[in-house]
């Protein structure tokens, strides 16, 4: 629960824009599961495939957010989590990451952005996990041969649900038509879509402020 004073509208604050990174980054916003799917259910599904699985979806569609949402449930299932997020062009895992991860009890390695790894690095990682009785959960833009745990998609209904969640505590002049237009422009790339809504919010609030200043300056 957060309480805030009444200066929020006057001074710079993270509450000024509900689409700012602090509200939308993975972990800040819980993954929006469709009806009939839950984090607990996905953990059971992952356990059934010997803790091997992949989350597949296009760029910005919520894979990292889903991983963040699953983490506490995986830890509650008794797995020791070792997580890494790979950046563009990172073809190998850092030295010692796998060795240190496998040293813990009931390890589960989570590799976000698995498709960045070279073919050889993937083979080696899979082999070492199997040999060390470790789980392996990966995210990728395309299927890469592990059991499919979940496929992320961002349809308009999900986008509207996300916007509704974000604007529940910090209001926005962004309209339903703006959301539809952003979705038409960015499709399932939620990251870009939310950036576009951030910009739209800034433009609308700046215009509102300019109008209010003009009205205040006008002679009575």
């Amino acid at each position: 629960m957060t309480q805030s004073n009444d200066m929020n509208g006057r001074f710079p604050s993270r509450h000024a824009n509900p689409f700012a990174t602090c509200w939308t980054r993975p972990g800040a916003l819980p993954f929006q599961f469709p009806t009939g799917v839950s984090a607990e259910q996905l953990v059971v599904q992952l356990a059934a495939t010997n803790w091997r699985g992949e989350i597949v979806g296009p760029h910005g569609s919520g894979k990292s957010t889903l991983v963040e949402t699953l983490k506490p449930h995986l830890a509650a299932a008794g797995r020791s989590l070792a997580c890494i997020t790979l950046r563009e062009g990172q073809r190998r895992l850092p030295t010692d990451f796998v060795r240190k991860s496998l040293a813990s009890a009931r390890p589960l390695l989570i590799v976000d952005g698995y498709e960045q790894l070279s073919w050889l690095s993937r083979i080696l990682l899979t082999w070492r996990c199997r040999r060390g009785a470790a789980g392996l959960l990966v995210t990728s833009h395309t299927p890469i041969g592990h059991p499919l745990l979940y496929r992320t998609r961002a349809n308009l209904q999900l986008v509207e649900q996300l916007v509704s969640t974000l604007t529940a505590s910090n209001s926005s002049p962004v309209s339903a038509a703006d959301v539809v237009a952003s979705h038409a422009c960015h499709g399932s790339n939620l990251r870009e879509l939310l950036f576009a809504l951030y910009d739209r919010h800034e433009a609308l609030t700046a215009a509102e402020g300019a109008t209010a200043r003009t009205a205040a300056a006008a002679p009575a």
Binding site: M1, T2, M7, F11, P12, Y198
Partner: protein, 133 residues
């Protein structure tokens, strides 16, 4: 579950506008007739960035108030804080990034979830980004 009482976090300057080097002071307290059993309260004066990209923050001033045997923490009484503000970073209301200052109070009750209360203020007088033509 025990519900948190309303918490007051107030800066002494009603305008909430400060200049570098100026002293910022204020107080916090919890309302209610019955004492709220808390383990500790942490008061920070900090800045952070908010916007579209990577975020940054730094704590300028920190105080911890702890409930101890012989020194119970009764938040019904006003607890004061004060600090001299630094030269930078100055508050900035940009379109891509905002530099925000606030007093932040985090209370850890003996039962129930922690609470967070903020009082935002402005350091310096850098103009906001102009609206696009």
């Amino acid at each position: 579950m025990i519900e948190a009482p309303p918490i007051t976090l107030k800066l002494d300057s009603a305008a909430g506008e400060y200049q570098p080097g100026q002293r910022l002071s204020g107080h916090f307290m919890a309302e209610g007739a019955v004492p709220w059993m808390v383990r500790s309260a942490e008061l920070s004066i900090l800045w952070y960035t908010a916007g579209k990209g990577d975020e940054d923050f730094a704590v300028h001033h920190f105080e911890r108030f702890v409930d101890e045997p012989g020194r119970p923490l009764d938040l019904r009484l006003p607890h004061r804080f004060a600090t001299a503000l630094p030269a930078s970073p100055l508050s900035y209301d940009g379109r891509i990034v905002k530099v925000c200052w606030c007093a932040r109070l985090r209370i850890y009750p003996q039962q129930g979830p922690e609470t967070l209360t903020e009082a935002v203020f402005r350091l310096g007088d850098v103009s906001a980004a102009p609206a696009e033509a």
